[in-house]
């Protein structure tokens, strides 16, 4: 697998019509859903490539002698305000606002220019001709409209657009900055957890997100398994949290790797804004914003890995950062696992399912077969034993259509889009 093709982020836009993916090579690929076939209504429209562009290039920081990876860490869509679409994409250091617009007409018949653009000899111009727009093949253009650079010393892990649609935050390991979408030459630092003495560093910021409805509220998760909710009205610098969400550690589970597996890799608010979900290495937790001392729901994603932590540490898999997502109605949550498995948990029925994203096992239009991992002991038919899981096939990024039951699941370098059966 070419490293540049490894998908590093997946995100639906607000209507669900567009799906953006970013990869390690710094490219963004946008898929568009075909308009439904209203007559047949057999299925929702398929997603086809809509636009591809190079968002970020590798850079070199000469001052620090550091190479800056072009890998796209996150993409976030802005809500649509006019014909064009806007999204923010970020690598480790720089955030860019891209405008994606369609062009399906072009002006033809210039008076002073030839069709190929060369200027005509003025002496040959004897009549007045006004250009007119004529249809052309649809062309989707992406142009960078803003570049928000030089605000992060550490690696950016999150961006989140505020519900005011004017500001957004970007978070790196130790700091969170607040930007205005129109202003690129300055940002406000709103969280700074860098200790005076770096030797005293005990935790880093792992993810941050604005509340979907309250434009003054955001949360950030840490490598220690805590989530802090901050209110920007309280003070300019939100170092002191308004709420601290933390579940006490179960001492019987203590191991060498306890700190690693408790590190939160993703935090997502529910659409309602009442709950938030966190993902750590082995589980998904749902928190009620009104209760700080423990999550209201906990789902084990792959508990069978708990006894394998040592091997997972050796092969670095224990550092994998899985994301999680809500469905449109906040009734189901989804997250990825290994062996190209992904898991869904229905919060109401308490049922869960494991599915696999792979070409061999799934023909288009076939129903996915539930999978099961056998932790130990006798393996039943169709079960997969833990030891035969392929840890190189990991699903880190998943996304759920905001309105429909369509999901996008990224394996290492492939994007799978599934939808539920439409009867």
């Amino acid at each position: 697998v070419a490293e540049a093709d490894i998908i590093s982020t997946v995100e639906f836009n607000h209507s669900g019509e567009l799906l953006a993916t970013g990869d390690k090579g710094g490219r963004v690929v946008i898929f568009q859903q075909e308009q439904e076939n209203k007559i047949q209504s057999l299925s929702r429209g398929e997603y086809n490539v809509y636009s591809t562009f190079q968002s970020h290039e590798p850079e070199f920081d000469y001052l620090k002698s550091l190479e800056i990876e072009e890998k796209i860490n996150k993409i976030r869509w802005l809500p649509q305000k006019n014909a064009a679409q806007f999204l923010l994409s970020t690598n480790d250091k720089t955030i860019k606002l891209w405008k994606i617009s369609e062009r399906d007409k072009r002006p033809e018949g210039y008076n002073l220019k030839e069709e190929d653009g060369r200027y005509r000899d003025p002496s040959t111009v004897t009549t007045l001709r006004v250009p007119v727009f004529r249809p052309m093949d649809l062309m989707v253009e992406a142009s960078p409209r803003r570049i928000f650079a030089n605000a992060h010393t550490y690696h950016i892990n999150s961006i989140s657009i505020n519900s005011d649609y004017e500001t957004y935050l970007s978070a790196d390991d130790l700091r969170i900055n607040l930007w205005h979408l129109e202003i690129t030459d300055r940002s406000f630092n709103i969280v700074d957890i860098k200790p005076a003495n770096m030797e005293e560093l005990t935790e880093v910021i792992t993810a941050a997100e604005f509340h979907p409805n309250s434009c003054n509220t955001f949360v950030y998760s840490s490598s220690k398994g805590t989530i802090r909710l901050c209110d920007m009205r309280a003070s300019a610098l939100c170092d002191r949290h308004s709420k601290l969400f933390e579940e006490p550690e179960d001492p019987s589970n203590r191991s060498f790797f306890s700190e690693i597996i408790s590190s939160i890799s993703d935090v997502k608010f529910s659409h309602s804004g009442r709950y938030m979900m966190t993902r750590d290495y082995l589980s998904v937790k749902i928190w009620d914003l009104n209760m700080e001392n423990r999550p209201v729901e906990t789902y084990q994603v792959h508990e069978y890995l708990r006894s394998k932590l040592c091997s997972l540490y050796e092969n670095d898999c224990i550092f994998d950062k899985f994301e999680c997502c809500w469905n449109g109605s906040d009734s189901v949550v989804m997250t990825g696992s290994y062996n190209n498995f992904f898991r869904m948990f229905d919060r109401n029925t308490k049922r869960d399912i494991t599915l696999e994203a792979s070409r061999e096992n799934n023909k288009p239009r076939t129903v996915l077969k539930p999978r099961k991992v056998c932790a130990s002991g006798k393996r039943k038919k169709d079960e997969i034993s833990v030891d035969s899981l392929d840890f190189n096939k990991k699903i880190l990024h998943t996304a759920w259509h905001p309105k429909e039951n369509i999901i996008a699941v990224a394996t290492t370098n492939n994007l799978y889009i599934f939808q539920d059966k439409v009867n």
Binding site: E69, D92, M198, R254, S311
Partner: protein, 369 residues
């Protein structure tokens, strides 16, 4: 942190885990995109956990050996007059006594480290470092846990009701001071060349050398010393003043160190390193507890001593030492600064935290680097 449980869970032993972690940190420095702070921080946690288990395993092993040797009768009996087990004021080593003059600050008495790398004792005389260092050496051993039990690494404040201030450590210890379960048992702790301990001790009549030591100190002399390992929070009782050096595993002769008691510089095994560069003082110690080579003793140093992973150790450890030496110059400064900063008398818990903090210092320094 439960050593036993952890060991069960992990296919790698602590030492391999340490070298693996260091390799990860090292390779992250050359990765594209620069050092990943988050990953390095997590690796440093594993490093710390593994290191603590590693140290406790070493101590446990030493304890086992000591038990063995004890049976072999190589030990010196307690000098007459030394109080038997019981309320023995923790005393670290005669060296300590010798060290007294150099370290007059109360609360900062840095007992000389027994060879056990309490070379952390390197802290000694520096006016820095934790008292904790010392106990480590001696502490190692499971005054508490039984032989085969790995030492509890978890700081157990409830078990140390007595503030383990440096001075406190020298006073009569109450039973409460001992870690629950074993502290007060008569289990021998480390051996250390004693009689000299008596000799050492003698120059230091309870009142003096062990300045802060309580009166019971003299009685203690060499019969029993209780030390608190502020790093691992293990309280150990050292019987007969025998201190078994950490290097024992590598220097089989060290047991014979016992034989060196009272004699001129005994076998290398008994050499004890207090801290680097203090050879002259050590020479002055009665009993000729001379300074040994740095490496064998630094094993249990809590500070990021590079000697911790001395070349004498199995190849894996030499990897570690090589790797650490890569970070060497950048961190020694940090480390020594850290030690110098530790000035206040701390109770056991605080000391522990500080030790842990300093333990983390070098690992985190790697991160920050």
């Amino acid at each position: 942190m439960l050593g036993g449980r952890r060991r069960m869970e992990c296919a790698l032993d602590a030492q391999s885990l340490i070298s693996l972690s260091l390799r990860k940190i090292h390779s992250s420095r050359t990765q594209r995109g620069g050092i990943k702070l988050h990953k390095n921080l997590l690796v440093s946690y594993v490093l710390r956990n593994a290191r603590q288990l590693y140290l406790s395993e070493r101590y446990a092993e030493l304890y086992r050996r000591q038990q063995h040797y004890q049976e072999g009768g190589l030990l010196l009996g307690a000098p007459p007059g030394c109080a038997p087990a019981g309320e023995i004021p923790p005393e670290f080593s005669p060296l300590q006594l010798a060290a007294e003059p150099e370290d007059p600050e109360p609360g900062m008495q840095q007992p000389r480290s027994c060879g056990l790398g309490c070379a952390a004792g390197g802290a000694l005389g520096r006016g820095g470092g934790d008292l904790l260092e010392v106990p480590v050496c001696a502490a190692l051993l499971p005054g508490a846990p039984q032989e085969d039990e790995p030492l509890e690494l978890q700081p157990s404040p409830p078990q140390h009701p007595q503030p383990a201030t440096p001075s406190a450590l020298r006073r009569d210890s109450s039973p409460g001071f001992y870690r629950g379960g074993g502290g007060s048992s008569a289990s021998p702790g480390l051996l250390y060349p004693v009689p000299t301990s008596c000799d050492f001790g003698s120059p230091a009549p309870p009142g003096s050398a062990m300045s802060s030591a309580s009166g019971g100190a003299s009685a203690h002399c060499s019969s029993r010393t209780t030390v608190l390992d502020l790093d691992t929070h293990v309280v150990t009782t050292v019987e007969n003043g025998y201190l078994h050096q950490d290097c024992c595993s590598q220097c089989p002769c060290c047991c014979q160190g016992a034989a060196g008691l009272g004699a001129p510089p005994p076998t290398p095994g008994t050499k004890r390193k207090y801290y680097p560069g203090q050879e002259d003082e050590e020479d002055g110690d009665p009993g000729g507890v001379a300074v040994g080579g740095g490496s064998p003793f630094s094993l249990c140093s809590k500070r990021a001593r590079f000697e911790d992973f001395s070349p004498e150790q199995p190849p894996d450890s030499s990897n570690i030492s090589n790797l650490i030496s890569i970070f060497g110059s950048g961190f020694t400064g940090l480390v020594s600064r850290q030690q110098a900063d530790c000035e206040q008398p701390l109770n056991g818990q605080l000391c522990g935290k500080q030790a842990l903090a300093s333990l983390g210092a070098w690992t985190r320094a790697i991160v920050a680097f």
